[in-house]
């Protein structure tokens, strides 16, 4: 099951993929596009408790809505939430295959902290990556914060390592506001992967148990003199 959504200003794109392996039971007779308002969907999901199981159900001849069934097996309780669908015209963005110049993996929590720290100084996040390391810079009127990671080779714990693959150096700017939103997904995964290329949207990817991913695509900031200084 795949989900795609954009923010209202069309700067960021969310792409969620949940592979069949993640589901207890999965049945889909043919490829189908379902349009839902994220706001309405989150209303439904808020009805769920942490340990509930969730079943999504859509049947073609049962009108234009999706049923979320939350079941609490301990209490033999189920809750059905029906959400009306939205006509989205079966529209989606084609994400082209991209060979990224830089791929960096690091602990998800580390990336979250870096973004948070930098956002206290700046609206924009500059990422510079070379073979020597990856540098996150937030520069504002009151000062700046610069976080540098040299690719770690001596870390014993693999999940703590920052790995960096650089084919070509990269220097890109992004709105940090969006990055901070993306890092809300930190709970999903221990690791985060950043894929970067000059003048191309960055991909911030959180793997989901080897059976899917949550990816955020963020368009770069417009390079004008003001941003460059």
């Amino acid at each position: 099951m795949s989900l795609q959504a954009m923010d209202s200003s069309h700067v960021a794109l969310v792409s969620l993929k949940l592979e069949v392996g993640l589901f207890d039971t999965y049945r889909c007779d043919r490829t189908i596009n379902l349009g839902l308002s994220l706001a309405n969907m989150s209303k439904a999901l808020k009805c769920a408790n942490n340990d509930d199981t969730c079943m999504l159900k859509y049947e073609e001849n049962e009108g234009d809505s999706i049923i979320f069934t939350f079941a609490d097996p301990k209490r033999d309780k189920t809750q059905d939430v029906t959400v009306k669908m939205m006509d989205i015209d079966s529209e989606h963005l084609g994400i082209p295959e991209q060979d990224y110049a830089v791929v960096c993996e690091m602990p998800a929590g580390e990336f979250q902290k870096t973004c948070k720290d930098l956002s206290t100084f700046s609206d924009s996040l500059n990422i510079t990556a070379t073979k020597a390391g990856i540098v996150f810079t937030g520069k504002g009127d009151i000062g700046s914060s610069v976080v540098t990671y040299s690719p770690s080779s001596n870390t014993d714990d693999e999940s703590e390592a920052v790995t960096l693959e650089v084919k070509e150096p990269v220097n890109v700017n992004f709105s940090i506001k969006y990055m901070n939103q993306f890092t809300k997904a930190t709970a999903l995964s221990d690791r985060v992967r950043l894929s970067l290329c000059n003048d191309v949207p960055v991909v911030v990817e959180y793997p989901i148990e080897e059976n899917g991913f949550l990816r955020f695509y963020l368009a770069p900031k417009i390079d004008d003199e003001e941003n460059m200084e």
Binding site: H10, L13, L93, T120, S122, D123, D141, P220, E226
Partner: protein
């Protein structure tokens, strides 16, 4: 202490944001104010710059749609695709819309021939062989009559469809260009095909290889009886 520190930083961000947002909004306000009312400068500026702040942030980044194309899903079932292809062919055959894409030319040896004014891909419908559709027995009688007249060329195309023999007689002069296409057994670029449209069948000519603009259209007449070959040796040597 931690809380206090946090508060101070958030205070700073806000100031910082206002500072970065103001240069651009100043420029816009200046233009706006010159045009309208200088007396209301202060309140106008305040309301505008606060609104501008959110807008400015959104326009400072590229849009993701500049990088990723919006794709309207045009997935169709193969049944739908076949149906559409069939309808397109039906329209083309019935309207004769390809007729204007072909031109008649004169060849010293062969007489009239047909050239294409556009390129065709392999498998494309090119033109219909239009004439009077008749059953085999009826056609044989007519053919007999024609054979008495030396002036009449061969415009009768015999074919089999659903185990029944048919003939299209295009002897009568008409604007339909299918009847004027010359024969070639050695290098044809068209082949004949029978299609059912709305219950009746039509003989159409389809490109059997890519055809370039300006090429003469040719297909194999298929008549190989000894008698006709004797009369028309070009059936086997062109």
């Amino acid at each position: 202490m931690k809380v206090a520190a946090k508060k101070r930083t958030t205070g700073r961000i806000r100031k910082d944001r206002a500072a970065t947002a103001s240069p651009s909004s100043d420029v816009e306000n200046a233009g706006h104010l010159i045009a309208s009312n200088p007396g209301r400068m202060t309140p106008a500026k305040n309301t505008r710059s606060s609104r501008k702040c959110t807008v400015a942030k959104d326009i400072s980044s590229h849009k993701i749609t500049e990088f990723f194309q919006v794709r309207r899903s045009c997935r169709k079932t193969s049944k739908q695709i076949n149906e559409e292809a069939k309808n397109a062919l039906r329209d083309m055959v019935l309207k004769g819309s390809n007729e204007r894409l072909l031109e008649v030319y004169k060849d010293v040896v062969k007489g009239r021939g047909i050239r294409t004014k556009i390129n065709f891909d392999k498998g494309d419908f090119v033109v219909e062989y239009r004439g009077v559709m008749m059953e085999y027995s009826e056609a044989k009688v007519i053919e007999e009559q024609y054979s008495n007249d030396e002036e009449i060329g061969s415009y009768m195309y015999f074919f089999e469809h659903n185990n029944k023999k048919w003939c299209i007689d295009a002897t009568k002069e008409s604007p339909w260009k299918g009847r004027l296409i010359n024969h070639s057994v050695l290098r044809p670029n068209l082949k004949t095909k029978v299609v059912e449209i709305d219950g009746s069948h039509h003989l159409i000519l389809v490109a059997n290889r890519p055809i370039a603009q300006g090429e003469e259209l040719l297909y194999d007449y298929g008549d190989r009886s000894a008698e006709t070959i004797a009369k028309n040796p070009w059936l086997v040597n062109t």
